[in-house]
Amino acid sequence: VRARVVIVAALAAALAGCGGGDGGGKKDAAKPVITLGTKNFTEQYIVGELYKQTLEKSGFTVKLKSDIGSSEIIDQALTAGSLDMYPEYTGVLLSEIAGQRKRPATAPAAYEAAKRFEEERGFTMLRMTPFTNSNALGVKPAFARRNGLRTIADLKRLKGVVIGAPPEFQTRFEGAVGLRQVYGIRDMVVKPLPPADRYKTLDQGGVNVIAVFTTDGQLARGKYVVLKDPRNLFAFQNLAPVIRRDLVRKYGARLSGPIDRVSARLTTKAMQAMNAAVDLGGQKPAAVAARFLRSAR
C-alpha cells in the first residue's frame, strides 16, 4: 500500500513538473521515481545495478529492490503495483507466468510471445539481451566421466539422482515436471537450495546434479559440465525488462533508449564475466555494473 502511494505521489509530481511546459526550474525536485525489482541471485543483482545506474544518469530516481525472489513472487509484486519494472527471462515468463506449454522455436519468437503476454495486462517488455540464461543441469566432470553422462537423457540410467535446485524447480515445467514428462526421469530427489549455494553443495558432494544458468560465472572456467538438452526442455531465456506500459508511453525514448542500449551489450560472455567477478571475485554488483557501464564510453 505504502509503495503504491509513493509511486502515485511521484507520478503526480512528475506530471506536475512536465505538464506546465515551463517547469524547467522544478525538474530536479520532480525527478520521476522508478521502483526497480530484481530476483535474488547474482545475475539479477548485476542487471539491476546496470539498469539503476543507467536510469539515474538519465534523470530518474530509482528505488532498487533487489532480492525479491523467484518469478512467481516478483510477478505478484509487479502486478500488485509494488514494482514498476524488473528484468525477466523470456522462457520463464512464458512457462511459469503465462503458463504456456508451447515452446517457441527461436529466441525472438519467445520474446515476442512474452511481450505480447505482458502487453495484454498493461505491461510491456523493453529490448531483450543477446545472452540467454537458460536453465541447464550441471555436474562435476568426474561424475560425468564415471557415469558416462553427456545429455540430460543419460540421467535416466542413474539410480536415485539427487538434484540441487531452487525450490520452485520442484513445481516447474522447466524443472522436475519437465524432467519427468519430457525425459521420463522418475528416480530423482530434488533438494531445494538457495541459488548461491548450488555450486558449493555440488563441490561438497551434497548433490549429484545442480540446476544452473548458462550465464553462471562458475561455468566459464571448465570446472563443471553442462548436460546437453536434446529435447529442448529448457527454453530460450533471453533477459528483457518487464515494465509498466504507461511509463514507457509517458517517458518514451528517455526511458527505453538508455535501457535498450545497455541490454544490447549484454552478451553471454559479458554476463558470465560479470557474474564471475561477483560470485568468484567477491566484488560488489554495483561496482561491477559501474565498471561495465564506464567501459562502454
Binding site: 500500500v1 505504502r2 535474488n40 512467481e72 513472487i73 525450490p167
Partner: protein
C-alpha cells in the same frame, strides 16, 4: 553593604535558577525516560505485529486455510499506525529516527515485495507458493527486521541511560545549588541580624540609655550622631531636645534661686523691721505712761491725747507682734517627729480655756491621727482656727474638730456655726492683714489665717475654707501623714508633696 547585598542577591538568584533548572531537567528527564520506554514498547508491538503477520502468512501457505490470514489482515491495518507512533516517539534522536525509517522500509518491503505477493500466489497456485516459501526471501527479510529492532532497542536503551545520567548530573547540581542557597540564606540571615544589631538596635539603645539619664537629671548627656540616616536623625533630635531642656532647666534654676533670695531678703526685712520697731515703740509707750503718771494733774484736756498715743502704740505693738509671728512661722527649723494631734488640740483648748468659758462654747473633738510634724507649730494652727471659730460667733459657738486619713494624707477640718462669709472671700482671708470686718466689730490683726497657711504649707500641706454667710464655716487643711519629705522641692502646692 549595598554591594554585598547585591552580590548575595545575585548568588541567591543563581542558586534558585539552578535549582529550578534542575527540577525542570529532572521532570524532562522523567518524561524522556518514559518516552524511551514508550518507544521500546511501541517497537516491540510493531515487531510483534510483523512477526504475527509472517506466521499468519506462513500458516496460510502451509494450510491453505483462509482463517490463518487473520493476523496478516489485522497486521496490515495496524502496522502503519504503529510505525508512525514509533517514529513520533524517537523524533528527537536523529540516529533512532533513521533506524526507524530503515525498519519501516524493511517492513514495507516485507509486506509489498514478499508477503503480499506470496499470499496472492498462494491463492492462485498454493503448491507453487509452498515451493518458494522454503528458501524465499521472507525469512531473510524477517531476520533483517528483527536485527533492525534489536539495534533500535539497544540504541534506545543507551539513549535512556544517557538521559538518566544527564538528569542525575542535573539533579546533583540542583541539590548542590539548593544546599548552597540554603547556606547562603543562613549566612545572610546571621549577617542581617548582626547588621541590625550593630546599626539599628545599638544606636536605639544608646538613645534610650541617654533618655533615662536625662530623666534622672543628667542634662549634660548627649548621643553621638555618627550616621546619616533615620537613626542619625533620632540622635540629633535627642540632642536638640536635651540642649533645650538643659537651657530651660538652667533658666528655671536661676529664676527660682532669684525668687528664693528676694523672698529671704523680704522676710529678713520684715523680721528686722518689726524687731527693731519694737524698741522705739516700747520707748514711746513708756514715755506716754510716764507722762500720765507724773503730769496727770497738768494735762487737763491733754489727757485724751495721751490715751490716744497709748492706744496707738498698743495697736502698733500688737501689729508688730503679729508680723513677727508671721515671719517666724515661715522660718526656722521644722521639727519632724510623731505628733499626737489630739494632744495638740487639747493643749490649744487649754490655752483657750478663758474664751471658751466666756462664750459657753460647745467644743467637740473627734478621733484624730498621729502624724509626723512640728507639734508647736501645729498647735498654733489649731489655736488660730479654733480661736477664730469662737470669735466669729453670733450665739453660743459650736466647734467640731475632725480628721480623715486618705492614703498618705490626713485631712483635718474645723467646723463652726459662726457668721460665715461670702464664698468669694474664702481665698483672700488667708492673705496677711486681710480683714473682712472692722476691728471694732471683731478684734484681731488679720494675721492668724496667714500664719496657718504658712505652717501648713511648710509641712507640705494645703489649707482652704468653705463657707456661706450665716451658715458657719469649715476650714480644712491637709498634712502628709509621714511628714514633710526632706528632699522635696519647694512646695507650692502642699497636697501633692506626700
Amino acid at each position: 553593604m549595598a554591594f554585598v547585598g547585591g552580590v548575595m542577591a545575585l548568588l541567591l538568584g543563581a542558586a534558585f535558577v539552578l535549582l529550578v533548572m534542575a527540577v525542570f531537567g529532572q521532570r524532562d528527564a522523567g518524561r524522556l525516560a518514559l518516552r524511551s520506554q514508550e518507544a521500546i514498547t511501541a517497537g516491540q508491538e510493531l515487531e510483534k505485529t510483523v512477526l504475527s503477520m509472517d506466521s499468519g502468512v506462513r500458516g496460510y501457505v502451509a494450510s491453505g486455510r483462509e482463517r490463518f490470514l487473520d493476523p496478516w489482515q489485522s497486521g496490515l491495518k495496524t502496522y502503519p499506525g504503529q510505525v508512525r507512533k514509533l517514529a513520533g516517539l524517537v523524533a528527537d534522536e536523529p540516529e533512532q529516527q533513521a533506524q526507524v525509517r530503515r525498519i519501516a522500509e524493511q517492513a514495507d518491503d516485507y509486506v509489498n515485495l514478499w508477503a503480499r505477493p506470496l499470499v496472492a500466489l498462494a491463492r492462485d497456485r498454493l503448491s507453487v507458493a509452498r515451493s518458494v516459501i522454503a528458501t524465499g526471501t521472507g525469512r531473510d527479510r524477517l531476520d533483517q527486521i528483527r536485527s533492525g529492532f534489536q539495534t533500535l532497542f539497544t540504541q534506545e536503551h543507551a539513549v535512556a541511560r544517557m538521559r538518566e545520567q544527564r538528569a542525575e548530573r542535573g539533579s546533583s547540581r540542583g541539590v548542590a545549588a539548593g544546599w548552597g542557597g540554603l547556606i547562603l540564606v543562613a549566612v545572610l540571615a546571621v549577617g542581617f541580624a548582626f547588621y541590625l544589631r550593630r546599626s539599628v538596635v545599638s544606636p536605639v539603645l544608646t538613645v534610650s540609655e541617654a533618655s533615662r539619664r536625662l530623666a534622672e537629671g543628667d542634662m549634660s548627656v548627649r548621643v553621638p550622631p555618627v550616621r546619616d540616616d533615620e537613626l542619625g536623625d533620632l540622635a540629633r533630635a535627642f540632642n536638640t531636645m536635651a540642649d533645650s531642656l538643659e537651657v530651660s532647666q538652667a533658666e528655671l534654676g536661676e529664676r527660682s534661686r532669684e525668687l528664693e533670695r528676694s523672698n529671704r531678703e523680704l522676710e529678713q526685712f520684715a523680721s528686722v523691721t518689726s524687731h527693731d520697731l519694737q524698741a522705739p515703740l516700747a520707748t514711746i509707750s513708756m514715755y506716754a505712761q510716764l507722762l500720765e503718771q507724773r503730769h496727770a494733774n497738768d494735762l487737763n484736756g491733754g489727757r485724751q491725747l495721751v490715751d490716744g498715743i497709748n492706744a496707738a502704740t498698743v495697736k502698733a505693738r500688737s501689729l508688730i507682734r503679729d508680723l513677727l509671728e508671721y515671719s517666724r512661722a515661715g522660718r526656722g527649723d521644722l521639727l519632724n517627729e510623731p505628733v499626737d494631734i489630739r494632744a495638740v488640740v487639747e493643749e490649744a483648748l487649754e490655752m483657750l480655756a478663758a474664751p471658751v468659758e466666756q462664750s459657753g462654747a460647745d467644743v467637740n473633738v473627734e478621733e484624730l491621727p498621729v502624724i509626723l510634724g512640728d507639734p508647736r507649730k501645729l498647735r498654733q494652727v489649731f489655736l488660730n482656727l479654733i480661736g477664730n471659730a469662737l470669735k466669729f460667733a453670733e450665739t453660743s459657738p459650736s466647734v467640731r474638730v475632725s480628721a480623715e486619713v486618705q492614703g498618705s494624707t490626713a485631712i483635718f477640718a474645723v467646723t463652726d456655726n459662726g457668721i460665715g462669709m461670702e464664698p468669694e472671700h474664702a481665698e483672700r482671708i488667708f492673705q496677711p492683714f486681710h480683714r473682712l470686718h472692722s476691728e471694732d466689730e471683731y478684734p484681731g490683726s488679720g494675721i492668724g489665717l496667714a500664719v496657718c497657711e504658712r505652717i501648713v504649707e511648710q509641712h507640705g500641706g494645703r489649707i482652704w475654707a468653705q463657707s456661706a454667710p450665716g451658715e458657719g464655716s469649715v476650714f480644712r487643711f491637709t498634712l502628709p501623714v509621714a511628714g514633710r519629705r526632706r528632699l522635696a522641692a519647694t512646695s507650692f502646692d502642699g497636697g501633692a508633696a506626700g
